[in-house]
Amino acid sequence: MATFPPLKTGAVAQYPATKSLRFQNQIVRFVDGNEQRYRDSAGPLHQWVIRLDQLDETELASLEGFFLSNQGSFASFIFIDPWDGTSYPNCSVASDQLQLTSVEELHNTASVTVTENRG
């Protein structure tokens, strides 16, 4: 399985980086105000927002090629959490859209949101 492409430095993210985790809980509310809550999933799903700046053209092309080879949000890949090094084996790009900006030579920017899939 493919792995999210690292930068030339070996890092996969830059500051500011964002990470979130999301549970899937359900709430049943009763007429008297009581409620019951239950888990509707096996556990949390993680999401990372990778904002990249000062990329050179090689790094940008690598990211673009990765997005295209995954057909956007379709395919799954392994993502290594840059916070703790945990390997998440079933992740995909969250969006079918990738914006690449060339500010000047050797200065390109892009932003990718990676989301963990269930199942």
Binding site: Q71, T101, G119
Partner: protein, 257 residues
């Protein structure tokens, strides 16, 4: 064919490029999903912002826009942020034409520490080449670059149309380049590397429609888009001074069109 600026460039910074794909997703209540890809639904968009265009350059763009009738008619567009060559790390792909006595072995260590380089061995008596023909206007300015490496100093020749430029490959990976243009009346041009009998390492051939190479960009489909269109039916520009104009152009390429 989208016009090249007179300053031998195809676009200016900043340049925005957007890739869009289409995935049909059926999301279940527990967060799991079933996905279906739609390869034909992919769209690529470029936003080209020009500043300081001369009267001639603006006129060329405007005439081209008028000839295309805005977003109506398609044209060939060269990705200004990409490698025009296809399959830059697979010299055995059918898009590459190799001489009969040229053997290609992939998986060699490349200058970036990966394994994308090729080991080319010419077992013939004369020079052999590996080349790719692009259906682009040969009269534009192109920059061809490639990394080469050889155990002994070896003279290799870069091919750009009918132009030839010798360069030396040594024990260390070296990026060699050549800028030029071909026959202005031709609708295609050949780019390649020719090597004498012996063996050399080759990595990252790249062609760009500009006067000097930028950093290497790996390619698969290549950067020639044969049926791109303007994204708008409006062409508006601002004149900021004598012989200085600015304009923003949107170009769209859709796989399904």
């Amino acid at each position: 064919m989208y016009p090249q600026l007179t300053k031998e460039a195809y676009s200016q910074f900043p340049l925005r490029k957007q890739r869009r794909t289409r995935t049909v997703t059926n999301m279940a209540a527990d967060g799991s999903s079933i996905k279906l890809a739609d390869p034909n639904g992919a769209i690529t968009e470029w936003q080209l912002q020009y500043e300081g265009l001369s009267d001639t350059e603006l006129s060329n763009l405007q005439q081209f826009f008028a000839a295309a009738e805005g977003s109506l008619n398609g044209f060939t567009f060269l990705d200004p942020a990409g490698n025009l060559l296809a399959w830059s790390e697979d010299l055995t792909n059918a898009v590459w034409e190799a001489g009969p006595f040229l053997a290609s072995a992939g998986g060699a260590t490349d200058p970036f520490g990966g394994s994308g380089a090729f080991h080319l061995t010419n077992s013939g008596e004369g020079a052999q080449s590996v080349s790719q023909t692009l259906n682009v206007p040969a009269g534009y300015i192109y920059s061809l670059s490639v990394y080469v490496q050889a155990a002994q100093p070896t003279t290799v020749t870069l091919l750009l149309g009918s132009n030839r430029a010798p360069a030396t490959a040594g024990p260390n990976w070296t990026r060699i380049g050549f800028t030029g243009s071909g026959d202005p009346t031709a609708a295609s041009i050949v780019f390649g590397v020719e090597l004498p009998p012996g063996a050399i390492g080759v990595f990252g051939p790249q062609v760009e429609a500009q006067a000097a190479p930028s950093a290497y960009q790996k390619s698969t489909t290549g950067g020639v888009y044969g049926d791109a269109r303007f994204g708008d039916d409006t062409f508006s520009f601002a004149t900021t001074d004598v012989n200085r104009h600015s304009v923003t152009v949107n170009v769209v390429y859709a796989n399904h069109l």
